[in-house]
C-alpha cells in the first residue's frame, strides 16, 4: 500500500509541473464551463421552471466525453517515459512489486482527474443556486460516480498501453484509437447483426454511461463493466512490465 502511494504521489505532483497536464485541465474545465454556460442561457430563454430544467447531466455529459481525449494525454508518459529515461531499471530493482508500480501510476492519474472533477463541481453548485428548488442530487451524485468510473477505465487501459511502449506519442495514439473504437464503433455491429449483437452492445463504453448513470440510474452491470476494464488495463500493464524484464 505504501509503495503504491509513493508512486502515485510522485505522479500526482508531477502533473502540476507538466504543461500537458495544464492543457488538459484547461481544456477540460473550459469546455465543460462553456457548454454549461450555453445550457443555462438557453434554459433562461425558454423557462427555468419548465419540468425539464437543466440538471447535473449538462456537466457530467460533456465531461465523460472529454475524458476520451484527455486521458490518453495523462497516461501516455506514465510508463513509456520511465523506459525512455532509463529509470525503469531503478524502479524494477527497487523493492517494489510490478503491480504496485502499475497501480501507483494509475492512482496518480486518477487522483488528478478526480481533482479536476472536484473543481468542476462548481458548475452544478451554480445551477443549484439558479434553480428552484435546486437540482436533483441523485442525478448529480450518480453522474459524477459515472464520470469517475469512465475515468478509471480509460486511465487503466491507458496505463496498460503506456507500459507497452517506450515512446509516449505512440502510447497516446494507440490509446486514442482504442477509445474511439470502444466509444463509437464497437456498438455498431449490435444494430446490424440480426442476433448475437448483445456482446457488442455490452462492450460499448459510452452506452454504460449515457443510457443510465448520466440520468441518475445505477446498474450493477455498468459498474462491473467499468471496473473490469480498469482491472484489464492494470493487468495488461503488469504483464507488459514483466515481459520487459525478459527482453
Amino acid at each position: 500500500m505504501r509503495n503504491i502511494w509513493t508512486i502515485a504521489s510522485r505522479e500526482y505532483k508531477h502533473y502540476f509541473i507538466s504543461p500537458i497536464a495544464y492543457v488538459v485541465a484547461f481544456l477540460f474545465l473550459a469546455t465543460v464551463g462553456i457548454i454549461f454556460a450555453l445550457t443555462i442561457l438557453n434554459a433562461n430563454d425558454s423557462a427555468l421552471y419548465y419540468p425539464s430544467a437543466p440538471d447535473a447531466s449538462s456537466v457530467t455529459g460533456p465531461m465523460a466525453f472529454l475524458l476520451l481525449l484527455t486521458s490518453p494525454a495523462l497516461t501516455m508518459r506514465l510508463l513509456a517515459d520511465e523506459q525512455r529515461m532509463g529509470t525503469m531499471e531503478l524502479l524494477l530493482t527497487a523493492p517494489l512489486r510490478d503491480w504496485e508500480l502499475v497501480l501507483g501510476k494509475w492512482l496518480g492519474a486518477f487522483l488528478f482527474i478526480a481533482t479536476l472533477a472536484g473543481v468542476s463541481l462548481i458548475f452544478p453548485l451554480i445551477l443549484d443556486i439558479l434553480i428552484d428548488p435546486g437540482i436533483d442530487k441523485g442525478v448529480l451524485f450518480v453522474g459524477y460516480l459515472g464520470v469517475l468510473l469512465v475515468a478509471a477505465a480509460m486511465l487503466g487501459l491507458g496505463v496498460g498501453i503506456s507500459a507497452m511502449f517506450s515512446n509516449q506519442v505512440a502510447a497516446f495514439f494507440v490509446s486514442l484509437v482504442i477509445f474511439v473504437i470502444m466509444w463509437w464503433l464497437i456498438g455498431v455491429p449490435a444494430s446490424l447483426l440480426p442476433n448475437g449483437g448483445e456482446v457488442f452492445r455490452y462492450l460499448d463504453m459510452a452506452s454504460h454511461f449515457y443510457e443510465s448513470m448520466i440520468i441518475g440510474v445505477i446498474n450493477l452491470a455498468d459498474i462491473v463493466y467499468y471496473l473490469s476494464l480498469t482491472a484489464l488495463g492494470l493487468f495488461t500493464g503488469t504483464i507488459a512490465v514483466e515481459i520487459r524484464r525478459w527482453r
Partner: protein, 313 residues
C-alpha cells in the same frame, strides 16, 4: 554474500553470459573487468533482480535472485550503467522518493548524511537536470548507498568523474567494502588494482581469470620476466644472456643500460645471470623480476580467449 553458479543469459539466440560461477564474500570488493560487450552489465542486472537468467542460480545476501527477488532488492544498492535519474526533480526530492520506496525511517537525516558522503550536500535543493554529468553520477551513487545495503553493485561507478572525485569515490567504495560486499565493473585496470581485493576478468560472457590484482600481475602463465640493469652499453651482453639456459629471449629495455629477459623456466636462475654479467666484465646495478602490467594481462587474456574460442565472423 554473492554466490553465482552456472549463470547463463541468452538474448534471443545471442548468448551474453555463459555459465558464470563466482563468489564474493562479506568485506570484499570484487572487480568485474572486461571489454565492451563482455557481459558485465548483464550479470549485474540479473543479480539485482532486474531481469531473470536463462539458467543457473544466483544468491545475494542469502536470497535467491529469482525466487526471492524482493528480499534481494531490499538488501542491494545498485548503480546502473546509465544513471537512472528524474531530471525534473530536485536531488533531495529524488532521494526522498527512493527512501520512501525503501521504507527508510528517519529518511531526511539519512539523505543529508549520504549527500555528505558523496560530496553533494550543497546541491540538495538543485534540480537534477541542471547538474553536471559527474554530479549526476554522485547522486546515483547516493541513491545506491541510501539504505546502507549489505551488497553494493556498481556498474562503472567512476565514469565521468573528475580526478579528485575519482579518488574520493574510490576511497568511499573501499570504506564501504570493509564491512559490506561490493561488486563493481570497470574498464580501468588501475582502478581495479587500487580498490579491488579480487578481480574477475570476463570476456565474451566467460570468466577468463580470477585472482587478486597482485597475483594476476605477478605472472599469470608462470613465465616471469627479469630486468637487468648494468653500467654501460648492453649490446655485447644481450647475446650472451640470450644464450643462457632458461632464458627465452633477451631484448633491450626501455632505458639505457636495461635488458629485459623473458624466462622459459620458473626455477631460480638469477645467480647464473648475475655471474654471467659479472664474468663478462660488466657492472651489475640491478636485477629484479618484473610482472606484466594488468593492461598486458588483460589484453593477452581477452585476445587469447577469442583466438582459442569458436571461430567467429
Amino acid at each position: 554474500m554473492i554466490r553465482v553458479e552456472g549463470l547463463t543469459k541468452d538474448y534471443g539466440s545471442r548468448r551474453a553470459i555463459n555459465a558464470l560461477t563466482f563468489e564474493a564474500q562479506q568485506g570484499e570488493v570484487l572487480g568485474f573487468l572486461g571489454p565492451n560487450g563482455a557481459g558485465k552489465t548483464t550479470t549485474m542486472r540479473i543479480l539485482t533482480g532486474y531481469m531473470p537468467a536463462s539458467s543457473g542460480r544466483a544468491t545475494v545476501a542469502g536470497y535467491d535472485v529469482m525466487e526471492e527477488s524482493l528480499e534481494v532488492r531490499r538488501r542491494v544498492g545498485y548503480l546502473p550503467e546509465t544513471v537512472p535519474l528524474y531530471t525534473d526533480m530536485t536531488v533531495f526530492d529524488y532521494l526522498k522518493f527512493m527512501a520512501n520506496l525503501r521504507h527508510l525511517p528517519d529518511a531526511e537525516a539519512r539523505i543529508d548524511e549520504t549527500l555528505e558522503l558523496v560530496g553533494m550536500a550543497d546541491r540538495a535543493g538543485g534540480y537534477i537536470g541542471k547538474l553536471s554529468k559527474g554530479m549526476r553520477q554522485r547522486v546515483g551513487l547516493a541513491q545506491a548507498l541510501l539504505h546502507r545495503p549489505e551488497v553494493l553493485i556498481l556498474d562503472e561507478p567512476t565514469i565521468g568523474l573528475d580526478p579528485g572525485q575519482v579518488v574520493e569515490v574510490r576511497n568511499l567504495i573501499r570504506d564501504v567494502g570493509r564491512e559490506r560486499t561490493v561488486l563493481l565493473s570497470t574498464h580501468i585496470l588501475s582502478e581495479a588494482q587500487q580498490i579491488c581485493d579480487r578481480v574477475l576478468i570476463i570476456n565474451k560472457g566467460e570468466i577468463v581469470a580470477e585472482d587478486t590484482p597482485s597475483n594476476l600481475q605477478m605472472g599469470l602463465e608462470g613465465a616471469t620476466r627479469l630486468l637487468v640493469r648494468i653500467n654501460g652499453d648492453t649490446a655485447a651482453l644481450l647475446e650472451k644472456l640470450g644464450e643462457l639456459e632458461g632464458v627465452q629471449t633477451a631484448k633491450p629495455g626501455a632505458e639505457k643500460g636495461e635488458i629485459e629477459l623473458n624466462l622459459a623456466t620458473r626455477e631460480e636462475i638469477r645467480p647464473e645471470i648475475a655471474r654471467a654479467v659479472v664474468s663478462g666484465g660488466f657492472d651489475l646495478l640491478e636485477l629484479r623480476p618484473i610482472g606484466m602490467s594488468l593492461e598486458d594481462i588483460f589484453l593477452q587474456l581477452t585476445r587469447d580467449n577469442s583466438a582459442g574460442g569458436k571461430s567467429k565472423e
